[in-house]
């Protein structure tokens, strides 16, 4: 279990490095697909089947959107040059990331160990079967206890679709 998890997360890290360092934008996007589908398998291993279903659908849609955008524009990434400013950016970035990692490690020491969760927070939701009658607790939380959250999510999705249509429309544009 632990070995499978570590192997999958290392695969995700390798995919992320390839996605960011590749000169071809199409292969960078396919490498992003490695991360998303590995995340799907991790959700299945961590017994979250609802998340795995949603993640595989959303990942496919994301890849379609990105590939359509790249095929409509250009595949080559010609923005990489090395000069003194880039080196300074590298050094400051590495220092910042080291500090971030240190503080994250300090913060994780106050969390319970992996797999030893006490369920203090969610005990009320675990009793939700008696209150809602929904046998799937995740859908009980989404659609019943936190229904307004889901309404807000639908609003955000509608707003982003309206934004995409507004930005990409052809009619009524001056230039």
């Amino acid at each position: 279990m632990m070995i499978v998890l570590i192997a999958l997360i290392v695969l995700m890290i390798l995919g992320a490095i390839v996605a960011l360092e590749s000169r071809d934008l199409l292969s960078a996007i396919i490498s992003l697909g490695i991360i998303g589908f590995a995340l799907t398998i991790i959700f299945l291993v961590l017994s979250a089947p609802d998340l795995a279903i949603v993640q595989i659908i959303i990942e496919t849609l994301t890849l379609i959107i990105l590939i359509a955008a790249v095929l409509k524009t250009t595949r080559a990434d010609t923005s990489e040059t090395v000069n003194a400013r880039v080196v300074m950016l590298w050094i400051s970035g590495i220092i910042f990331m080291g500090l971030f990692l240190l503080s994250a490690v300090r913060a994780f020491q106050s969390l319970p160990e992996f797999g030893a969760l006490g369920l203090r927070m969610a005990q009320a939701y675990l009793d939700g079967f008696r209150q809602t009658g929904a046998s799937n607790l995740v859908t009980a939380v989404i659609l019943d206890f936190r229904g307004y959250d889901t309404l807000g999510e639908a609003t955000v999705l509608f707003t982003s679709v309206a934004g995409v249509v507004t930005v990409l429309r052809k009619a009524g544009r001056k230039d």
Partner: protein, 112 residues
């Protein structure tokens, strides 16, 4: 603890992409990598050893469930991630149509 640190390293790789890369599509990919890492960290924190999926079946005696609350929050976050990604990529495509480049150094004169 190891898996937590590995997912933070994944987050930092995404942050590197956002901070250092000059290509707009690469910056969008960095944002998406950060989003994956955060979702992964939430579900990892909500896991219980030996827990099954939080779905009641006929035989519920002695079942241990994983925490359903982080899963519900991450479900919302994944769907919102699709919306933000679509908006980000459409902005990038529009900028490419105007400036013929994804390079953020060539996009100087930003006006309406």
């Amino acid at each position: 603890m190891t898996v937590f640190i590995l997912s933070v390293i994944l987050f930092l790789i995404g942050l590197y992409g956002v901070l250092v890369k000059r290509n707009l599509i690469k910056i969008a990919l960095g944002f998406m990598i950060m989003e994956y890492a955060i979702n992964l960290l939430f579900v990892l924190i909500g896991y219980r050893a030996g827990g099954t999926a939080p779905i009641f079946t006929q035989d519920v005696s002695g079942q241990i469930f994983v925490d359903p609350l982080p899963q519900a929050l991450v479900l919302t976050a994944i769907v919102i991630g699709l919306g933000t990604t679509a908006l980000l990529v459409s902005f990038a495509v529009r900028i490419y149509q105007k400036y013929e480049s994804f390079d953020i150094r060539k996009i100087r004169e930003l006006r309406g």
